[in-house]
């Protein structure tokens, strides 16, 4: 059963299985295990970023294609939901229309970019995606009448997904309301998308992609059209990124250039893939979890540490909460140094 769900791609390492199991349980029971607005918000972000990073892993880790437009596809999905909900009014139909439109637009754009650039050499794809992503970000800022410009769009999701909607009293001290439903929509949506990606990379299509990544000429000489496979992977990856964006918009009930289109998110995705381990899918789970938790709690942790060492020379300054980004950087350098094949690669090698 589990093997079928995971498409036969088991974690292949006991510590990795334990870590993944722990993350799954924590995310599945997050509202009950860690009640609180911030913790549940962190859990939802982890779910969404797992999908976003896994979709990028399909491209980079399995296809060997470097793209800088993944945030753009993510943003298309987010804006799709926002625009649909703004114009169609709150409702699940708006969420569905927005998500599907976002995914289809992302796939169409990926197809055009892919056909123009992947035909020549994969590196041109990276350059073109960078240019297109920048252009789209500027366009979204400029088209303020449609997109809300720099302020973004705040919209209403269906009542059933809002905190005001109650469907019972309390369970283990947690209010049974729309926000809880919203979390589980994000959780199960992400879980399904992740399992779908796992199925894709373990299908014959995924194997051909891996073959192309390793030796594209050899794959062609066997009979596979490299451009077709690369373009298909790009479109699929873009669609899933857009769906992750839709989930993000549903969770936040807001979308803006900084939350869904910024280059910072793109860099975060790259770091998460590298930290977790490229070409493993499970690396996305580890990378996203570590990164999002560090992003959300490192500052607090350092504040506590700084308090503990108060009175000592230099240390309180070094551990000041304001310097959290510096330590985040140090953590990444160390993780890349000690886990060159990512956490998953390292754990699997230890077997």
């Amino acid at each position: 059963m589990i093997k079928t769900l995971l498409s036969g791609d088991m974690p292949r390492s006991v510590p990795l299985t334990v870590i993944l199991g722990l993350i799954l349980v924590c995310l599945a029971l997050a509202p009950f295990l860690f009640p609180g607005v911030r913790t549940v918000d962190t859990a939802a972000r982890i779910c969404i970023f797992v999908v976003l990073v896994a979709s990028y892993d399909l491209l980079l880790g399995y296809g060997g294609i470097v793209s800088f437009a993944h945030t753009m596809f993510f943003g298309l999905g987010a804006y799709g939901v926002a625009l649909a909900s703004t114009h169609m009014g709150r409702g699940f139909d708006a969420l569905l229309v927005g998500s599907v439109s976002g995914a289809l637009t992302a796939a169409a754009l990926a197809l055009v970019i892919g056909l123009f650039s992947l035909r020549v050499r994969a590196i041109f794809f990276a350059m073109i995606t960078l240019a297109v992503a920048s252009a789209v970000a500027v366009l979204v800022s400029q088209l303020s009448g449609l997109t809300g410009g720099e302020d973004g769009l705040t919209f209403k999701t269906p009542r059933a997904l809002g905190p005001a909607f109650k469907f019972g009293g309390e369970l283990f001290g947690v209010k049974l309301n729309g926000k809880l439903l919203s979390y589980y929509l994000i959780f199960f949506g992400s879980l399904i998308l992740f399992l779908l990606l796992l199925r894709v990379v373990n299908s014959p299509f995924g194997r051909v992609l891996q073959a192309i990544r390793e030796n594209d000429f050899r794959a062609e000489a066997i009979g596979y059209r490299v451009v077709h496979y690369r373009v298909a992977a790009t479109c699929l990856s873009a669609s899933v990124a857009a769906l992750a964006g839709s989930l993000y918009a549903i969770w936040l009930r807001y979308v803006g250039p900084d939350t869904a289109l910024s280059m910072e998110i793109m860099i975060d995705i790259l770091l998460m893939v590298v930290i977790g381990g490229m070409g493993t899918m499970y690396g996305a789970v580890i990378g996203a979890t570590v990164f999002v938790i560090a992003q959300n709690y490192l500052q607090n942790l350092m504040g506590v540490a700084s308090g503990v060492v108060e009175g000592l020379p230099v240390l309180p300054e070094l551990l000041s909460a304001d310097r959290w980004l510096l330590w985040l950087g140090v953590l990444f350098i160390l993780s890349v140094y000690f886990f060159p094949t990512g956490v998953v690669g390292r754990l699997r090698a230890q077997k």
Partner: protein, 240 residues
């Protein structure tokens, strides 16, 4: 004599500013092993890579069973029935032996009888069926590379130096497998520097020099004429 399975007519191939092939004419008969011989750097590998479409012929024609494949993309040539074993093996190291083989069976699921035959030729592939190809030894990687071409019946096999850098015991295994393939009636164009293998397998021989075909004839004639070998390739097969 029936029409050749492959025919090259005045093929010119340039790589960047270098004129590598300068009017190559070649005929590969059906059901025979045709050797492509010559010193290093005379254009043997480029000839194979031009046939498979990796390098484009700037002039001339390449006919597979009478059909012009000169301008076809590489995947189309492969699916037309040309199996290519490159010099660098080109195995997919991150995939298992099984996955490598399944990828190579482009026309559908692997025929179990054919797989048994491949296993009988290369027993280590059965042993390491579920192992990552990157963990195989050099000889086993070469076996996998050839096995991928053999896993389906091809109209033509292009094999580039299959015994290069291998231990004598592995070379014997390779030679046996290629002999087996030949006995099944396969058409093979083989680049081989190991003359004892070339002599044992080759029916016809073609010798290249400086991007041109300088001699074509029977392998046994070349194998027994030391003076001809010296003149064509600058060395004698007897030394090997």
């Amino acid at each position: 004599m029936s029409d050749p399975i492959l025919k090259l007519e005045g093929v010119y191939t340039n790589i960047a500013q270098y004129h590598i092939l300068q009017g190559v004419d070649l005929e590969v008969p059906r059901g025979a092993v045709t050797m492509l011989l010559g010193r290093n750097g005379v254009g043997k590998t480029t000839t194979l890579r031009t046939i498979i479409g990796h390098w484009r012929a700037h002039e001339g024609r390449i006919l597979l069973d009478g059909e012009d494949i000169t301008r076809l993309p590489t995947p189309a040539i492969a699916r037309a029935g040309v199996g290519f074993v490159p010099e660098d093996m080109g195995i997919f190291a991150d995939l298992t032996v099984e996955e490598n083989m399944r990828l190579a069976a482009v026309s559908g699921p692997i025929d179990p009888a054919r797989l048994d035959w491949v296993f009988s030729a290369f027993p280590p592939l059965k042993t390491f069926w579920k192992s990552e190809a990157g963990n195989l030894s050099g000889g086993q990687k070469q076996m996998l590379s050839i096995a991928r071409a053999m896993i389906e019946e091809r109209r033509l096999y292009l094999i580039d130096e299959p015994t290069k850098g291998l231990a004598p015991a592995i070379i014997s295994t390779m030679a046996r497998a290629l002999r087996d393939l030949k006995d099944q009636g396969a058409s093979i164009l083989l680049v081989e520097q190991n003359f004892s293998v070339a002599r044992a397998l080759g029916d016809g021989a073609n010798v290249m020099d400086d991007g041109r075909m300088v001699w074509s004839g029977e392998m046994k004639q070349l194998a027994t004429d030391a003076e001809l070998q010296e003149r064509l390739m600058g060395l004698s097969m007897e030394a090997h």
